[in-house]
Symmetry: C2
Subunit: 103 residues, 2 copies
DNA sequence: GCTATAGTGAACCGAGTGGTTCAGTATTCA
DNA sequence: TGAATACTGAACCACTCGGTTCACTATAGC
């Protein structure tokens, strides 16, 4: 891999895993602890923590340790970066669609 | 990994690699052959072909073999699926932002 | 027909990823 | 204080991924 490791870069990497996307969807419904997130996947706490850490680094999730519990929530403006990237490309794709046939 | 392997799933996987994203950006500027795509990356044709195949399977790129040349282009409506997914989550993230503090 | 070009398929390789277990720390609660 | 809970860190493991090389096929052009 090439690894420029911008935030957008990390976000795309984070989104590649279906479990992590499911976590994001879950967090869309409200904040949750590591245990609460791990349980429905039948995953170890350690395993889930790793996913959460990745999502944090990608700035898609923020967490806060309250006592012995870590509360995880969707980051504000989480998808701004990738949305922008995507929209730019999407414009191109639409142009391709309009001019189809004249290559 | 879990692997439901829907198209959206494959699209996210495809987008995780920075080289593949660069290929998409390049194709935004117009169609290109495998050789033309491989060259700027200093990558073997075989290597590039693999990326293109992945992008095809994710329905982000379409290709067409003309003689001995394979022409690659951005797929129409390429980003529809992931855009929809993202927008849904983005709405949640905005809600989080608005209601911040009252957890 | 011969040669150069464009791509393909198979096999292989090193690094990275997703997951585990196990032992430990810090909080909570009776 | 002592036991249970919630998480963490280190070490480990199997598998996937991005890439290569090499031998091959098919087309293009003289």
């Amino acid at each position: 891999m090439v690894q420029y490791s911008t935030t957008v870069d990390r976000a795309f990497t984070a989104l590649a895993d279906p479990n992590r996307r499911a976590v994001l969807e879950r967090l869309g419904a409200g904040s949750a602890t590591i245990s609460e997130l791990a349980e429905p996947f039948g995953m170890s706490l350690t395993g889930m923590r790793k996913h959460i850490r990745l999502l944090e680094e990608a700035e898609l999730v923020t967490t806060e340790k309250v006592g012995r519990v870590r509360r995880c929530m969707l980051a504000p403006y989480a998808f701004e970066g990738i949305s922008t990237w995507l929209q730019r490309l999407d414009r191109f794709a639409q142009v391709v669609e309009r001019t189809k046939g004249d290559r």
